[in-house]
Symmetry: C3
Subunit: 126 residues, 3 copies
């Protein structure tokens, strides 16, 4: 169910980008998302299409910035969300050497009935 959009600057190789996807997936599993529930779109941008402030909130960002937008179901607690942010940042730091400052995450929450995983059916609707 999480639909994940990952945006970053052009220049990393395919293996690096796929590893970002894997780590975000693992982090989602670690906070209770079902196994195999993986749908991720990774887009690369030239500098002129990837604009960010290098200092907002006193966090120093570089061109390695990764912007991760996750659409998933409402109902998670603030603690679960914070666990997710930490798991993603720690995972990307450990596996790929990315700076934690360079991990930007946004969550969009929707109702359970707002998904069709195939076959034209709302699998999660009650």
């Amino acid at each position: 169910m999480p639909l994940v959009r990952i945006d970053l600057r052009k220049g990393k190789d395919a293996a690096f980008r796929q590893e970002i996807g894997r780590i975000v997936y693992d982090a989602l599993i670690s906070v209770g998302v079902p196994e195999k529930d993986r749908f991720q779109l990774i887009s690369e941008h030239e500098a002129d299409g990837f604009l960010f402030d290098a200092d907002y909130l006193g966090i120093h960002r570089t061109n390695d910035l990764v912007i991760i937008q996750i659409t998933w179901n409402e109902g998670r607690t603030s603690a679960q969300k914070q666990a997710l942010y930490k798991a993603i940042a720690d995972g990307l730091r450990t596996a790929l050497g990315l700076r934690r400052e360079d991990i930007f995450i946004n969550l969009v929450e929707v109702k359970k009935e707002n998904w069709s995983f195939g076959n034209g059916i709302a699998q999660y609707a009650s």
Copy 2:
């Protein structure tokens, strides 16, 4: 009002992609979206930027997977959403031969006042 993002693997020709757009539009009209209310962005991805589980929920997906994310107004019933999923999957199956298993849909709901269709005005705000 629906703002529709359609993502798929690179390899289909332009006519095929435009037909996806037309069918999603027709399906939206069939559940009550106003005629002509069409705003769609279609993006193609290489394999390494389009990651999905080929079996989640026991639904077998192929590289023909189409991921459709629709932002529209809140207030639709679950039945209307389910009618939309069915109309999209049936339409893509009939017109393009896509497998129903390969149609992934997500809805994001917003308030009526959250749109400006031009001129810097919130046309739907009451």
Copy 3:
């Protein structure tokens, strides 16, 4: 915090696109978004990936259409949103000569705790 996705037809030069980003940022600041809070993704599309109705609601749109989707915190009033739409349309008109009819804007609202600006922390969570 606002995460801004800007989509337009291919053909404008980089300076033009960056100016769109700057003006959207300035408009956000003018309605109360904090200074330096800038995260923007600008994507160009071929004609076959950028589909819109040229007349919906009687507003005449051209291939210069700019589609702006802004994810930000809930809690803004309808008046604030309308001020934002006006500021963006006026700014793009004045600085770039874009027609106001060609500015499409959509807002997606999320909770404060739905952001991590870096370091794996939810900076806005209370």
